[in-house]
Symmetry: C2
Subunit: 326 residues, 2 copies
Amino acid sequence: MEIEDIAQRVLAGDRRALARAITLVESARADHRAQATALIDRLARDGREALRIGLSGTPGVGKSTFIEAFGLMLTGLGLKVAVLAVDPSSARSGGSILGDKTRMERLSREARAFIRPSPSQAQMGGVARRSREAILLCEAAGYDVILIETVGVGQSETMVAGMSDLFVLLLAPAGGDELQGVKRGIMEMADLILVNKADGDLKAVAARTQADYAGALRLLRRRPQDPEGYTRAMPVSAIEETGLAAAWAAMTELADWRRAEGHFAANRAEQARAWFEEEVRAGLLADLRRPGPAQEAMARLGAGVQAGEMTAVAAADEMLRLLGRG
Amino acid sequence: MEIEDIAQRVLAGDRRALARAITLVESARADHRAQATALIDRLARDGREALRIGLSGTPGVGKSTFIEAFGLMLTGLGLKVAVLAVDPSSARSGGSILGDKTRMERLSREARAFIRPSPSQAQMGGVARRSREAILLCEAAGYDVILIETVGVGQSETMVAGMSDLFVLLLAPAGGDELQGVKRGIMEMADLILVNKADGDLKAVAARTQADYAGALRLLRRRPQDPEGYTRAMPVSAIEETGLAAAWAAMTELADWRRAEGHFAANRAEQARAWFEEEVRAGLLADLRRPGPAQEAMARLGAGVQAGEMTAVAAADEMLRLLGRG
C-alpha cells in the first residue's frame, strides 16, 4: 500500500518522502485529505517526540539569520532540525513573505536539517491543521528539534504558541518607547525573549533592551509552567553567533523542568484538545462551501443581502433555520 | 414598547440612548440579543448614511491625539462625529489597550461628538458583529462621520477595513528599513496613508517617510476603486494640527468619486454579504457552546483526546458524525 510505503520511508528519515508527505497534508483535495488522515494516524502510533519550538519575530528582526545560525549550532551538536514556516498572511498577499530555502542556504545544505517554507495558498484554519500535521510528520521522521517560525502578527503567534512546547520571541534592539509595541498578551505567551543583533553598534542598545524586557517580565505574574526565578530575556547575535548556546541551554533546561513537573505532557494534552475543537469547527464550516443545498442557499441568501433585499442578520437567521439550527 | 422608545431616542440623536443601545448590542445575554436584533432591524429601515472611516495605527503612532485633533476639526465644521474602538486583543489581555474617553478629553466634551471605548470582554467573532451593529446605531443617531479605530494587528485591520467606506493607515516617521514592517497586504488595503508627527524634529523624517510610502504605493497596481493618479500618502501633525484639513479633503473627494462611480454602494453591498456569511458561521459554532447534547459530546470527546485515548482528528470526525455532518 502506498501510504504504508510513504510511512516507512518517513520513519526511516527520508527527506524526500517527508517533503512529499507534507505536500499531501497541505492538499485540499478530498482524496488527498483521506490519505493524509490515514498517514497521520499510522505515524502518530510511533510515539516519537521532538522539542517543538515556536519562534516569532517581526520582519527586519533577523529571523532567518537567527534560524540559520541556531539551526547550524544544533546540527553541529548532532541534532536533527526541521524548520516549518507558518504564515497566515500568505493567503492574502498571494505569496509567502517568509520566502524560501534560499534564505537559509547553509542550513538547507545540512544533511541533518529539513526546511519547509509555508504553503502559498492557505486559509487561517487550514494553516493550523496543516502545520500541526507537518509537525507530526517531522517528529515521525526523527527530527529532534522542530522550529516553527511565524511573523509577528497577533493571530499567528497565538496559533504557533498553541502547537509548540516552547514559544520564543525574537526582538530587535529598540528604544524604551518601542517596548510598548510588544503587547502584554504576547509577552505573557513567550517562554523566552531573545534580543537579536547584540553586536557591533547595537550591542549596548541590545543589552539595554534585554534589561528592559527582563524588567518588564519580572512585573508579570509568575506562570505555573515556569520554575521559580526563571529569567526569560537574553541577548543573542545571529551574525556573530553569540548567545546561541546559552539560549539553547535555557530552552532545554526549561523543557526538562517542565517534563519533570508534568507541565510538558499537560500542555500537549491541552493542545490536542484545542486541536480537536478546531477540527470540529472547521468541519462544520466546510459544509457551507461544499457543493450541495447548503452552498446553494448560502449563494441565494448572500445575493439577496447584497441586493439590499434583506439584512445580513435576517438572512443568517434564515440560513441557520435551513441548516436545522439557530 | 421599550425598543421603540430607545429607537425614537436614538433617532433623535440622544447620546445616552445611543450608549444604552450599544450596551444592548454588546450583551451576550439571549434576551438582550433578541432585543438588539429588533432594535437594529427597526433602525436599519431609517436609511441614514454616515461616512465610515476605519483607522489603524500601531501603539505609539499618536492615534488618540490624531483622532482628537481630527474629530475636533470635523465638529468645528458642524459635523457630528462618532468614535468606536475595535480591539480584539482586549479579550486576551482582559482589558482594552485602546483605553477610555480620558484619552480624548477635549473631543469627549464636544456636544457633536460621541466616543465609545471597545468592550473589555469580547471574542473575535463577537467584536465584528457588535462593531457593525454599533456603526448602524451611530448612523441612525445622525452621526455624519464614524471613526472606527483599531490597533495594527493584521486580523483586526482586515476586520475594520471590512466595515469601513475608507480605510486610513496612520504611521509614524521611520527609517527606510522600517517600511518593510508594513505588510504589502495592509498597504494595498489602505485608502489613505497618513504619516503623523510631521512636526518639530521629526518633520523632515516624516516628509521622507511620506515620500517613501508614496513611492511604494505607486509600484502597486491601481485599484478599480481609486481614481486615476490618486495620491494615497500625506503628512499630518496631530499636535500642531496641520494637514488635517487636507486629509479630510482627500477623504471626502475619494468618497464622492466612489459614490459617483458606484464603488461606494458596491462596497457596502459586498460588506453586507460578508457580514451575512460571518453570521451564519458564528451561528453554527454557537451551537457547540450552548448547553445540550452537542456541548456534552464536545466535552466528552475533548476529555478523551486530552487523556490520549484518541487523536484530535478521529474525535472530530466522530463529533461531526454526531452532528449529522462530515
